[in-house]
Assembly symmetry: C2
Homo-oligomer: 317 residues x 2
């Protein structure tokens, strides 16, 4: 485990809990020391941890913030150039490109657990952080399915379910359901605060809900939104187009029916999808069309829930 | 009480609970019958209820949806043209204008309890709906302070605190903290749903928070947003400007620091205001500068918490 913050720390704790042999390193002395004090095999020597992984053919997990990924990948290229590798960062296309550039020999499958809290650092880590969470493990044309299986087994082992998609599909969808919400929350908070103390006095549920994530640490929000620039720009344009259409309609006809009814219908359709009955699916990782089967499952909103050798079990609505 | 839905019904219940003599009417047979079945003095004869209010010099409360206000005000003009009058609708400027046009002799102070639920109708009403809620009672240059006191006493009696502001200040601020959040939630839900089943599978807390109010009944959201058109347009432009600036910055420099840091700071400043220590204030409704004292208190985010004759007690951060 390279990085011992909220995600890396929680993953070290929960993987250890399932009986895996785990060790970790972080250039944060604070996190590495706190983890060692809690009885874990951790240090600040990232190179040594990587050399040990190369010798043991262990799965290396990059759990560093996005801006630190390039630097750590250089160390991986130097000390474990053929390792099994995954990551837990919030954008997948740019990280995949960085891996191809810096560690071309790695057996890599990118990952992204869709979880987190407002807190950070080893002190905030928890062995149950991933219970019930969606965990994306990317399937690309050049993904070695053996590497994909290792990353998926790690995620399943700590209580998550695995959503198999391409990096491009992941980045587009998280722009819609995670990065845009953060930007809209920031804009709403600013427009609300412009209303002064009276705004604070009259703000009720809709404003509190709509601005909740504006309280997230700005550097974390910047890292994920700026890091997903290519996918976020067209999504931001889509939102601007819809909000501009609402503005135009309100100014010209006085009506907002199209905006409000479309939003209501969309919210209901997403909700119905989440509560739809699921049917079981099976995928054989050894089959020639395994990659297509995985990405088709992910695009339909399905998930892998168990793994046994090459036999994957999952479900889809 | 004219109107026996969620707000009117809850107000009838809670005012009765405090010992007031209350009666109500609704052109919804369902609500009027349900209220009568629960032991309340209600009917579908709005004209008769208004005549009785005129005879008793009772406070008339308009608790009908915004699109029905004009029609009910015509009845008030016919049957109780000099009555004490307040309302509970979500925009105050347009309702105030309608009262001046339709019932110029009314002793009117507009009101807006900042509360509600996702449900509607008498069946959803509750005597504790207003406990701890902010309740705007408008102060205009032509507001009779005796009428203001009656509306404020009703709100305080059912457990709310009273925020005294002008209709214009109310409408601008609710555009910021209530109507814009509903439009952003609608846009976010539509952009999210465009991501298909994968979006439903990967949506986590930020999306759920940001779209929660998109589940509100579209006719209610249309009534409040379209009814506040004049105040909402410039606020919508402010949001479009900020989101457009974020888009421009992301496209040109790749940075979103200005947007994200401003939003974080705004969220913190609103939060700090809400948790700031309060100091007590007193206002004498009989003093010549009472109107200015009330609106100044409201603009500073303050509230009235008790009333005794002309003596108002309140607090401000």
């Amino acid at each position: 485990m390279i990085g011992l913050g909220l995600i890396g720390g929680s993953l070290l704790r929960s993987a250890a809990h399932t009986g895996r042999t785990v060790w970790g390193a972080s250039d944060s002395t604070k996190d590495a020391t706190a983890a060692a004090d809690d009885g874990f095999d951790t240090s600040t020597d990232v190179a040594a941890a990587l050399r040990r992984a190369a010798e043991a053919d262990a799965l290396v997990v990059l759990a560093v913030p996005l801006p630190a990924v390039e630097a750590v990948l250089s160390l991986v290229g130097d000390h474990a150039p053929r390792c099994l590798l995954t990551d837990v960062t919030s954008v997948k296309g740019p990280v995949g490109e960085a891996v191809r550039r810096r560690v071309p020999g790695a057996r890599f499958a990118g990952g992204h657990p869709m979880t987190g809290t407002a807190h950070s650092g080893w002190a905030a880590s928890s062995p149950t952080l991933f219970t019930g969470a969606a965990w994306v493990v990317c399937v690309e044309e050049d993904t070695e399915l053996a590497a994909w299986r290792e990353a998926a087994a790690l995620a399943l082992g700590v209580g998550a379910h695995v959503v198999p998609v391409t990096a491009a599909a992941h980045d587009e969808v998280v722009a819609r359901v995670s990065h845009l919400p953060h930007l809209l929350a920031a804009v709403l908070a600013s427009v609300g605060a412009h209303g002064g103390p009276l705004a604070a006095a009259l703000a009720a549920g809709s404003f509190a809900d709509g601005t909740r994530v504006a309280g997230t640490r700005p550097d974390l929000v910047r890292a994920m939104t700026e890091g997903n620039r290519a996918a976020l720009l067209p999504v931001l344009d889509e939102a601007l187009g819809k909000l501009g259409a609402a503005r135009g309609s309100l100014a010209s006809t006085g009506g907002l029916a199209a905006t409000i009814e479309a939003g209501h219908k969309a919210a209901r359709s997403l909700d119905e999808h989440r509560h739809a009955p699921h049917t079981a699916v099976r995928i054989d990782l050894g089959a020639p069309d395994a990659r297509d089967g995985l990405t088709a499952l992910g695009e339909r909103g399905g998930r892998i829930t168990a793994i046994d050798g090459d036999a994957l079990t999952g479900e889809v609505a």
